[in-house]
Symmetry: C2
Subunit: 253 residues, 2 copies
């Protein structure tokens, strides 16, 4: 473990977008947006399969307008694909054949609204179990404070986003470059420690999982909790999401 | 364990007052207000020491006006007693000599504002570790749905209120009269299970505890986490808090 730094960076966890106005980290921070089921997992999956960039939109009206302009559009409501859209928001829709090299417009009930809320941050990175290690490394290199913003479900706390926040905070704290005075961070780390030996078993009790199950959409759940299946780090800046990992490393697929 | 009921009652945990508008339990519910450090613990302590009733007020202006009218007033800001008040809000202020048989006006930064927010509930009961068992029994008898409302700290999530919510929800769920589809409840119960073997050790990491420590006010902390030191169940109805336990049982001190 590294020596404790003199000026450690802060970690703060925001359990739902509605609590974002209460965060105490105001300067020099990156927001990590978390919507495990599904926006941030699906966005990571799209970059893994070669999407060029993603334009997040917050409303159905914007999504429809972009469809008319000729963009590929992913949009669903309460877990179901909308008629006008090319895709729902499930990670499994984004095959390399369908999206490789293209720009995708992405509209969700939770995730994109959270991007709107977090726009004051210097950058907004997409966090998911499937890019946990790549994201952790990227965050360490960025040298900023970090606010982990859980999308939750209709402004409510949700378990799956919180245990991811705990997993990420736990890894960052291990580097001794960070400190936290935030009870939400402590709670998220504790919940992660309970969940980590059997994540799928733990998440059985999550209310959102029960909602997806009712809709017959729970096929993506094992995928969504598989740690490190991709190295992408999708980051929102200037209205679009692109893969920072790809840019920095000049990685050729 | 009792047989699972056909129409179980709901438990929902609200992690901060700011999330109260998102609760899904809308009918036939009691709110359990939780502000372990300090309002609800102190209110229980005041009833344990014979206060007749408590009038909660949400603003300093109201508290000052009631002082002018001749009431005893407890009021503090950020953990410090205000000059015009008779008491701060610490449980240790409320000796039987000072408050026995009297009416007390109580103003706090967190607790009383949460009462304002929860006014649509049929009743608002005060929850604290010091009245956990008495409160649990009373709630079981009341036969209503239950929303446990954590006061938090300046609208933020706090650990001490959440682990109390978990302790209470855990006891209620054990009766098999209740069900929950709320991720906050599941998380609170899990955090309680981590905390319960050594509550004071666990709460060391709570940010609010560090704030009280800075102010030299942490003498009430062991008292605030001592389970079942009183049998009172203070309940807010029609603008005042009185002891339901005392009323129901015609208990003479």
């Amino acid at each position: 473990m590294d020596k404790k730094q003199e000026n450690p960076r802060c970690i703060e966890v925001c359990l739902t977008p509605k609590l974002f106005t209460e965060i105490q980290t105001r300067n020099n921070y990156i927001v990590v947006l978390v919507d495990i089921l599904r926006a941030t997992t699906s966005i990571c999956a799209a970059f893994e399969n070669g999407v060029k960039s993603i334009l997040p939109v917050a409303t159905l009206e914007e999504a429809k307008a972009m469809k008319v302009k000729g963009f590929l559009v992913a949009s669903e409501q309460d877990g179901r694909k909308l008629d006008f859209a090319d895709f729902g928001n499930s990670a499994f829709n984004f095959s390399r054949e369908a999206i490789g090299g293209k720009t995708l417009v992405y509209c969700t009930t939770n995730g994109t609204r959270a991007i709107e809320i977090a726009k004051k941050a210097e950058k907004i990175a997409m966090g998911a179990f499937i890019n946990l290690t790549a994201l952790t490394r990227w965050l360490i290199n960025e040298d900023k404070n970090i606010v982990i913003l859980c999308s939750g479900w209709k402004n409510k706390f949700c378990l799956e986003d919180t245990i991811f926040a705990g997993a990420l905070a736990d890894r960052l704290m291990e580097t001794s470059q960070f400190e936290t005075y935030c009870d939400s961070t402590a709670a998220a780390i504790d919940l992660w420690h309970i969940a980590s030996p059997d994540i799928l078993g733990y998440i059985e009790k999550a209310a959102h999982r029960h909602r997806l199950k009712k809709l017959g959409l729970d096929d993506v759940i094992p995928y969504s909790f598989r740690i490190d299946s991709t190295q992408v780090v999708p980051v929102f800046m200037n209205g679009e999401i692109s893969d920072e990992q790809f840019k920095n490393k000049k990685y050729i697929r």
